[in-house]
């Protein structure tokens, strides 16, 4: 499903103007990373995609559904949102219940629910802990439960809000694997992240936000190459990109392969 955001403004009831005119289109099946300093409005922006927040002005279309007119529960069929803080998302007593909560609400039949739950738990490697209480896990694993509870809904758009924060290398690799799997399944994935290496290695398109506006939007190679502009929102391009630049490589490189091949040519 295509996402179309037109001149979106949002002001929190407390008076903070968090979004100040964001326009953007994301096609079906795209993998997008969203970066930007703390408080630049990333979370606020994605909360509009499933209707949790309603635009102060402007509009958000998911396919041909206007988020102003369609209730959150209906949008949930198409948009899955993994919260930044898993503790705001988890409320069931066992992991299995938690992961089954979404698909059950979407009205799938019992056998489909079971297979979706099994698949999601398998993807985050939690199959063996079905009956554990999510709050008995470490916060990092709670994030994986939150992730699974959205994957099991099989939505065509999946939003991850800072999935890698506080995760060790193995868990980051696991999340990268989940993103790759979702891409293979043809899902749209939008990931907010402060982990610029994770962003460079797993996403084709990068959107940089700054003070409620889009600073840069384009292919990862071109966005991450613009260090001076990214500095405005306190984002540092990956080490290798910066090193490549200092070495005078013609192409902006994002990962080791690109770096090596640029070095050889």
């Amino acid at each position: 499903m295509k996402i179309e955001i037109k001149d979106l403004h949002y002001t929190y009831p407390a008076g903070v103007e968090a979004l100040r005119g964001v326009s953007l289109t994301i096609d079906s099946g795209e993998q997008v990373a969203m970066v930007g300093q703390n408080g630049s409005g990333k979370t606020t922006l994605v909360k509009h995609l499933n209707g949790l927040l309603q635009p102060t002005s402007g509009s958000v279309l998911i396919g041909d559904l206007d988020t102003k007119k369609v209730p959150v529960a209906k949008l949930a069929v198409h948009v899955g949102y993994v919260f930044q803080n898993p503790d705001e998302q988890l409320f069931c007593r066992t992991i299995h219940e938690e992961v089954a909560f979404g698909p059950r609400n979407l009205g799938f039949d019992a056998s489909k629910i079971e297979s979706l739950v099994a698949d999601a738990l398998n993807l985050v490697e939690l199959s063996s802990r079905k009956e554990t209480n999510p709050y008995d896990l470490s916060p990092t694993w709670r994030k994986m439960v939150a992730l699974a509870s959205i994957i099991s809904m099989d939505t065509s758009i999946v939003i991850l809000d800072e999935p890698t924060t506080g995760q060790d290398a193995v868990n980051v690799a696991r999340i990268a694997h989940v993103v790759a799997e979702l891409r293979k399944r043809g899902k749209t994935v939008i990931t907010i992240t402060h982990d610029i290496d994770f962003c460079a290695e797993n996403f084709e398109r990068v959107i940089a936000l700054s003070q409620g506006k889009i600073l840069l939007d384009g292919p990862a190679g071109s966005v991450l190459g613009q260090g001076e502009i990214l500095a405005q929102t306190y984002v540092d391009p990956p080490q290798l990109t910066r090193l490549g630049k200092r070495l005078g490589l013609k192409k902006t490189v994002r990962n080791q392969e690109e770096f090596l091949s640029a070095l050889k040519s």
Binding site: P71, V72, A73, A76, E88, F91, N105, L106
Partner: protein, 259 residues
């Protein structure tokens, strides 16, 4: 969403800077004087010549007038009408509705009572508008109020908005996973069921965490505690408290002497 369930309005004013205990004594003192004074117009005089000007001194006149007109006036007005109608005192009948007789005396009696209540509630309103609850509690614990007691008061003030905020986040999480909470009333009621257990359960977990957190900062320690914020208690504060105390005593004396 409000941070806590308090009426406190943050301003920089003479009244805000008074010691919390002074303001408490002021509110209590005005209330007592209003109730005990033998002169009929005292409560009304307190309202117009003390409390109303005080709301300007504390720069909370708008909030005060808001509360006065929206809450206190309707409530005391209701009280006035009920007492005027149902108080079987006096003989000078003014008019009667069906079996209810309104007399001059019942009207006067009801008016006096209503103004007394108005004076009481409005003086405490001024107190609450200009005093931060935690400042009051920390001042009172310094004067020997058990800190457990202060904790109970403060946490009660905080718990309702916290539960509200928590309920809001759980509802948001459930809605974004397809739980229909906005269509029919029936579905809304049904949506309460999955809300209750995480809310109660989560709050209980929080109680434990909070207990650990405050214990880690020496809550039950027997040593004298110092305070990060010194709450000033000037000689003016002390003098004011004495004056109020004397006024209350004087009013009581006059009342006894006149009766």
């Amino acid at each position: 969403m409000r941070e806590r369930l308090s009426f406190y309005v943050k301003r920089e004013s003479f009244l805000h800077n008074l010691n919390p205990l002074t303001k408490l004594v002021l509110a209590l003192g005005l209330t007592l004087i209003g109730f005990l004074s033998p002169w009929y117009w005292t409560p009304l005089a307190i309202i117009f010549f003390i409390i109303a000007p005080l709301s300007f001194v504390g720069k909370v006149q708008r909030d005060f007038l808001n509360a006065a007109f929206r809450l206190i006036l309707p409530a005391t007005g209701f009280l006035f009408i009920m007492q005027a109608l149902f108080q079987p005192v006096g003989k000078t009948e003014l008019f009667s509705i069906w079996f209810l007789h309104v007399t001059r005396e019942s009207l006067a009696y009801a008016f006096e009572n209503a103004t007394r209540i108005f004076a009481m509630v409005s003086s405490f309103t001024i107190f609450l508008l200009t005093t931060h609850p935690s400042e009051l509690m920390s001042d009172l614990t310094h004067r020997g109020l058990p800190s457990q007691f202060a904790y109970v008061i403060i946490s009660t003030i905080q718990i309702i908005p916290q539960m509200q905020a928590k309920a809001q986040t759980i509802i948001a999480a459930q809605r974004s996973r397809g739980l229909d909470t906005e269509s029919s009333l029936f579905k809304r009621a049904g949506a309460l069921v999955p809300l209750v257990s995480p809310l109660v359960f989560g709050s209980l977990v929080e109680v434990e965490e909070r207990a650990i957190a405050i214990e880690a900062r020496g809550f039950t320690s027997r040593h004298t505690k110092t305070s990060l914020r010194e709450i000033p208690d000037s000689s003016f504060d002390k003098a004011l408290r004495w004056i109020l105390l004397l006024l209350v005593v004087a009013i009581i004396a006059v009342k006894i002497w006149l009766s």
